[in-house]
């Protein structure tokens, strides 16, 4: 049975790109997508997926708030942050409990990036 993933990002472009990669290349099933932190929390409660990806800068409720809220209710949640923000936000997310942090853009045509992405996924599920 394939792993189930929820993708949350306010960018349709990113959702489309990541959905295609996760389903075709990684064999995941995308069970839900959302565009803000409120939807992230609701989708996590609804689906309890194997993995949820969160953008940081999103309207209404950002990814940092959603990360904390999901982990408070589901401490074992596998959460991967995917953001264009570099630096201290990454450290904050990992300290809060995110299992991985990937920087945008997602270069799925770049072999090295794909290797790094797969390595991050493996760390999430091996943890």
């Amino acid at each position: 049975m394939s792993k189930r993933i929820v993708i949350v990002d306010d960018s349709l472009f990113l959702i489309k790109q990541l959905t295609a990669f996760m389903e075709v290349a990684m064999g995941f099933t995308v069970v839900g997508t959302g565009s803000d932190g409120n939807q992230a929390v609701a989708l996590y409660r609804q689906h309890k997926p194997d993995l949820i990806t969160l953008d940081i800068t999103m309207p209404n409720k950002d990814g940092m708030e959603a990360l904390a809220e999901i982990l408070e209710e589901f401490p074992d949640a596998n959460i991967m942050m995917i953001s264009a923000i570099r630096g201290q936000e990454m450290t904050k997310c990992i300290k809060t409990g995110a299992r991985a942090y990937m920087e945008k853009p997602l270069l799925f045509n770049d072999d090295q990036f794909v290797r790094d992405f797969k390595a991050s996924l493996a760390e999430v599920f091996d943890a």
Partner: protein, 180 residues
């Protein structure tokens, strides 16, 4: 002529870094070659000369900055030849702004001068676009045969005055009559 105040000087020193961020991000998002058509330079001006603007604010308690990507709406389809959905094409411009801004505000030299600025979400403005004249970096790139203007401006919040006519005038007059 060299820039006329310290902020302009700092920005001029950051122009190569900004250009590098722009070229890398545009190439990554569009998966296309990118040519710099107008070199990035420090300028005190409002964003203008396009029919569609993608605006990405970035701020700290001390500074407000915004990246504006200006382009022709009718050309977005050509910029993204492989994407059929017009919503996704437009959204990709926002993602491009997101990546450019994320890279640039994480630049060591930028952080040393301005500290950490947190990006917000991008939004679009069609046609008229009102902005105040602030110091920034502006240049123009071409990808897939179409051009985009990239304009990153920054100002100090609080009591800091807007740029004076004296400091702004040189670039403003230089801009007059020059198509963007």
């Amino acid at each position: 002529m060299p820039p006329t105040d310290s902020l302009a000087g700092v920005l001029a020193d950051l122009s190569a870094s900004f250009e590098g961020c722009v070229v890398w991000a545009v190439r990554a998002i569009l998966e296309s070659d990118v040519n710099v058509k107008a070199p990035f330079e420090a300028i005190c001006a409002v964003p203008e000369g396009s029919s569609l603007y993608c605006i990405l604010p970035t701020a700290s308690t001390r500074y407000y900055a915004q990246l504006v990507v200006g382009l022709e709406e009718s050309e977005i389809e050509t910029l993204f030849p492989g994407e059929m959905d017009p919503r996704v094409r437009k959204d990709a411009i926002g993602e491009m702004a997101n990546v450019i801004s994320g890279l640039f505000v994480a630049d060591d030299q930028f952080i040393a001068r301005f500290g950490y600025l947190r990006p917000s979400t991008p939004f679009f403005s069609e046609g008229a676009f009102t902005a105040r004249k602030d110091w920034g970096l502006k240049g123009r790139v071409e990808a897939n045969g179409k051009q985009m203007i990239l304009h990153f401006s920054i100002r100090e919040l609080g009591d800091a005055p807007a740029p004076t006519e004296k400091s702004a005038g040189e670039d403003a007059s230089k801009r007059e009559g020059r198509p963007d």
